[in-house]
Symmetry: C2
Subunit: 377 residues, 2 copies
């Protein structure tokens, strides 16, 4: 059972330390600073999350050695003032009908190069480029990929809690009836279980039965699950602000075809070998290669059509990515999924996914339910 | 009571007509084309909405006289193929680990200027700018502001249905108890009512009681509402894919202070005069000016701290904006909010909001509950 006690709240001091580290990381990357718009980076750096992300510009400007500045729409100023990181920020606002870029631009080095949030709206980037034609911009994730990748002890506690809750949800879902029910019904059960075990938000509950399991991004549909189906269950959300993301594959009824057993075993070994490859200093792409090699050598390489994993933290998709070409070395505290899969079009799919963190001595799983093909009724 | 029958689904022909009109509008604006990423514009143009908006590039490329191209991550291709507009699109995909920009870039004019979705991720715009250094980009909303602003008959039917459902929710909320309950409890009632009256999604349920009503973007908090409070109720969501957004201000108990009555009456008149100013050819900013003039002349100008309105359709905030500086003339079929307010810091706020559509002869409200200060128990 997951530990349902809440972790201690992050403090103004935590946020000040994070903005300081981020500004230093930007300088080390040759940048004049960072422009951070609403989303997980802003939440990480200030604790601030506007009620909604709209066309109105909200941006945190970080530059090494200078006080962080948070520019917000005037009518959201009271919310910004109440955020846990506010005491170490200078707040500026702009009024509806005004152009926000001339307010922000004078705070930037007109010839400087800045990292800007990956998900910043293109219209805001265009506004800055127009206001400061000699300034330059880089994707914040490309420029400072490690910004949120290494989790501290408090974050690991939250991720462990989320993983434990997802494990509890999986154990419980094995007890519910699958045969004769729609995928959407089992998905609703999964969502309810995640909430019951302390998630504040459910982000996805994939129930891919039979041929639907062969589409790795199928969510859940109206298909009625039947005896003999192989079913991919991939579910997660936020608990205490941090993400869970787990996949297990189950079979409806005890008569498992030899091919399903074989494919499942290949995926299980791929996941296990990739996990065993986790240690500090190893390049992320190596984790992908290890999993892919197992699947390719078993003759299923063309059916493993996605990367092996993604980082997780305040979001369920973030650096580091376990993908060919990612040479970032693993660092203790990084957390990411290892989720190889095989997808046989029109027939069935198998995927097994755990969240793993890098320790000083190797990898540690944050999901701990068995990897065997689950048998459901 | 709202009409709960669903409108007819949009067809492949509808989407083909929309992409054609959009490409022509881009050409008329001097653009080589449009780059449209996931969000309401993509939904409007293709009916396609990826399961989640992630860092993986999905983009629709429209150029006058050329077949529309939709680039998607390979693992989302089955979803894209199933979208209602797919038959008039050429689908391309890119695989995890590959760089998507070199796939998209050869389809663009290397010296062309493109409109790009306002909310496109900055990292994607940077990727295109890097791949095609001589190409140019403009905010799609600035370049082609009218793309979705003028609604056709089927869209107006949906917006009318959403407005009617919001009206029904307001009538019902007047019957519930306010005094002694937390704002969040009344907000939950409002959300339940919107769903009961056919909304598929609730986007916001603002319950701003007493001093909280003076923060126009307060949502709902733990404050316990008491007799004598003035309460701003602002709620909306999606019904049949289109938005509702209504505000009414109520008072808890019959003993309404003279000042609350006065402020409410000023806002009511401002809303009414602004509504009466709606007719085709009038500039959007004129609607803002009319409302603002009433409030300023009553001595409350400094307490009306936001624009008067925003367009609504597939989203609840979209062009046209009723704001100083917006010279776009009103066109029949446009739909937008008229929502003046007065916010007395630390004390109370008043706002009245209707969705209005422009007709050949003036304005027509899509919300039709009384504007008087509602009295609740």
């Amino acid at each position: 059972m997951p530990n349902l006690t809440a972790a201690r709240p992050f403090t103004a001091r935590d946020f000040a330390a994070r903005t300081g580290r981020a500004a230093e990381a930007a300088a080390a990357a040759g940048l004049a600073g960072l422009v951070v718009t609403p989303g997980p980076d802003l939440l990480y750096l200030t604790g601030y999350q506007p009620v909604a992300i709209t066309e109105r510009l909200t941006a945190l400007l970080l530059s090494a050695g200078r006080e962080p500045v948070l520019l917000v729409p005037r009518l959201e100023r009271p919310d910004a003032e109440a955020c846990p990181g506010a005491s170490s920020l200078r707040l500026l606002d702009w009024a509806d009908g005004a152009d926000p870029y001339p307010v922000l631009a004078p705070l930037l080095d007109p010839h400087g190069s800045y990292g800007i949030s990956d998900a910043a709206w293109a219209m805001h980037l265009l506004g800055l480029q127009e206001a400061l034609p000699d300034s330059g911009y880089r994707s914040l994730t490309r420029a400072v990929p490690m910004l949120r990748a290494v989790k501290d002890a408090d974050e690991l506690e939250r991720l462990g809690g989320a993983g434990g809750a997802a494990d509890a949800a999986y154990r419980s879902i094995l007890e519910v009836r699958f045969a004769g029910r729609r995928e959407t019904e089992v998905a609703a059960d999964l969502a309810e279980l995640l909430l019951e075990y302390g998630h504040s938000r459910v982000d996805f509950t994939v129930v891919g039965s039979g041929p639907n399991g062969a589409n790795p991004h199928h969510e859940a549909g109206e298909r009625v699950i039947t005896e003999g189906d192989t079913v991919v269950l991939d579910f997660g959300g936020l608990r205490d602000g941090y993400g869970s993301d787990t996949t297990r594959t189950v079979h409806v009824g005890p008569d498992v075809p030899a091919e399903v057993r074989e494919v499942h075993e290949v995926v299980r070994v791929a996941q296990q070998k990739a996990f065993e490859a986790v240690r500090q200093g190893v390049e992320c792409q190596e984790i992908d290669r290890v999993a892919r090699r197992v699947i390719t050598e078993a003759g299923y390489g063309e059916y493993f059509i996605h990367r092996t994993g993604h980082g997780i933290g305040l979001t369920t998709h973030e650096p580091p990515y376990m993908v060919e070409g990612e040479t970032q070395p693993l660092v203790p505290g990084m957390c990411f999924s290892i989720e190889p899969g095989i997808y046989l079009p029109g027939r069935f799919g198998v995927r097994i996914e755990d969240i793993v963190t890098v320790t000083a001595t190797g990898g540690r799983r944050l999901n701990n339910t068995p990897h065997e093909l689950g048998i459901v009724a």
